[in-house]
Assembly symmetry: C3
Homo-oligomer: 269 residues x 3
């Protein structure tokens, strides 16, 4: 049991080391804006990205991959078909998968799609508070991709959503809130510059998918991923205080962040 703040840190250190030893293959069906950033973030942290995102290939690949990310940022028709195929392959093979319901709430295609994908049993659902409230049916969504509410405001909805879907729900914000419907972990790390670059949240979804390869405790592996990513963001922000340099430094920090950094910086509750 690694779900208390006291046990989570050693768990996360092991998970990060395991991830680098295994270099898990992570399939991503993600939006056009962040696809490059996401692949580079996975490579930097030590995983192996594979953006296999066409319907005819997605199912077979998902069945063989270590993890899968389904991100709804720019859900064109071919991507939507690929998402359904990939989720079917993941379900058949037991591949853990992460749903990132970008900007759901009022936009018609992605909101319907998010509902259907939630019913297919994601392993983890990651979003900002507006997105999680919308997926849980408790809010009307934000005005796009930026969070208009802090993560704590969605903690109740997140727990309800987790209980209903069986997924771990991770709400991103200044304090990240993670829950499986029973236990809740709060991670106080991170940096506001993550909201000044595109893909700051989307790349985290992919890294959560990578960490699922390291253990079957989904809440704990999600927490390990969020901790690794937000600590890397803190390190990056110390090196570069503007968004252009920060994006570069974040990749660098993801490639070097280690257990000592987690131990020195983790603030969990």
């Amino acid at each position: 049991m690694s779900r208390t703040p006291a046990t989570l840190l050693p768990f996360a250190r092991h998970a990060l080391a395991d991830l680098r030893a295994q270099a898990p293959l992570v399939q991503c069906i993600t939006n056009s804006v962040v696809v490059n950033t996401t692949a580079n973030a996975l490579l930097a942290v030590g995983a192996a990205p594979a953006m296999v995102d066409i319907p005819e290939e997605a199912e077979e690949f998902a069945a063989a991959a270590s993890g899968l990310l389904v991100n709804l940022g720019t859900p064109g028709a071919e991507h939507r078909a690929a998402m359904h195929a990939a989720v079917a392959g993941a379900g058949r093979a037991g591949t853990p998968w992460v749903l990132d319901p970008v900007a759901v709430g009022t936009l018609p295609v992605r909101t319907t799609l998010a509902t259907a994908l939630c019913a297919a049993g994601p392993t983890v659902i990651r979003g900002n508070a507006s997105e999680i409230l919308a997926v849980a049916g408790a809010g009307s969504g934000g005005r796009g991709v930026d969070a208009t509410e802090d993560a704590e405001s969605a903690s109740g909805a997140a727990a309800t959503l987790a209980a209903r879907t069986g997924a771990v729900v991770a709400v991103s914000g200044p304090v990240d809130v993670l829950t499986d419907g029973r236990d809740t972990i709060r991670i106080h790390n991170g940096h506001p510059l993550l909201t000044r670059i595109t893909g700051g949240g989307c790349a985290l979804g992919a890294i959560i998918a990578a960490f699922t390869a390291t253990d079957t405790d989904r809440l704990a592996t999600t927490a390990a991923a969020v901790l690794t990513y937000t600590v890397a963001a803190e390190i990056a922000a110390e090196r570069a205080g503007s968004p252009g340099g920060f994006a570069v430094a974040l990749l660098d920090a993801l490639s070097t962040v280690d257990g000592s950094d987690l131990a020195a910086r983790a603030v969990l509750s």
Copy 2:
């Protein structure tokens, strides 16, 4: 009236401050090459990007957005349908929108598309001289995305195009030429490194769309956008003299450029 060099600088300073206070939501339907750069440029300058680019969502979103960019760089079928939908939504709601007719002239799909979109009443048309000449029917287009003629060579065609469409026309080049068919503004800022990175012009189109949220004087807001962007490019070029570093420094400079920088560097005529 802010259309003379003397009045434009204070107007631009106010517009930049207003943009940051408002963080306008800018919908972009843009090409796959620059979509990440464009989102990051909008975030850096202080706007909120939303790449809502599928036909089923584009119209509704455009009606609610503060501004819209339609960029023809990689005009796949789904994007083309989304562009028509978004322009309809923008027209219905009065959302200002920018047309960037990338590489029009000889290529069949985008040239026809640019003609149709021009007839739909863009607020601003931004391109290099070859593109503006082609859209105006006065040239045969360049050999792709790079300008083969300087902006001044298109100033007459730009004025004609502006008078015909009612749009402000912004011609990018070493000296940028902006006109609404009556008044013309020339902005002598910028740096050649903008032509050594992909998206140097495309991101400007998005930033022009963001500035439209700050005032209804379209020529003046376009000039404020071009001035902000080209001054940021100058600042970036002083920090990094090669294209990789320049692209990073440009995002940094967009996040920090302020009224004092504009005042210190603006060269308008």
Copy 3:
């Protein structure tokens, strides 16, 4: 004849200078992950990228371009149609073209597509060992985009593939192996950081396409491209030792690498 190590270096120096003098127009139909990186790499080295990737425009453009890259990384239906159209245009006009068979082997769509494109007569085929083995029919492919075997392991298959297709075959790895089925060149330059960023191999495919404009000796121009790129990678790695900074420094190095750098660093056999 520039195919021996002794003659290749002066050939490569001339080819790089010629490329910069000509700024060849290189059409790319490439995957969504690396399209930005690829355009920036072409611009940095001195070529003119044009990502004309829709079926209705691809054939005409390929007939007029100096070179063409067809990369199978994310082969959606519209891109597949554009690839066939572009290859037809290139064949008709004699435009040299490069096939990059990303992740072929087990994935159904791209493997069939690679076979069909190979039959259409590419000028150069570039891939890692797993990909070349798969295209040659001698292997089952890797687990995605990362090479699971070193380039030398594919040298026999590469020579067979070259003889069968008439293409130069370039196998990327710690030592790059290039062959036209008769002569073989090994290039010992490069840096492991190229495998820690996405697009490290994909951008090379585009640069090979750019170098084809400089001479009709396809093996020699391919070697000149690989040498230029891998020497730039060495220079970049001396400036930045982590993947975020390396990607930036690689673009910078591509913009500055010159004949003296090639002479000082080339290790050919």
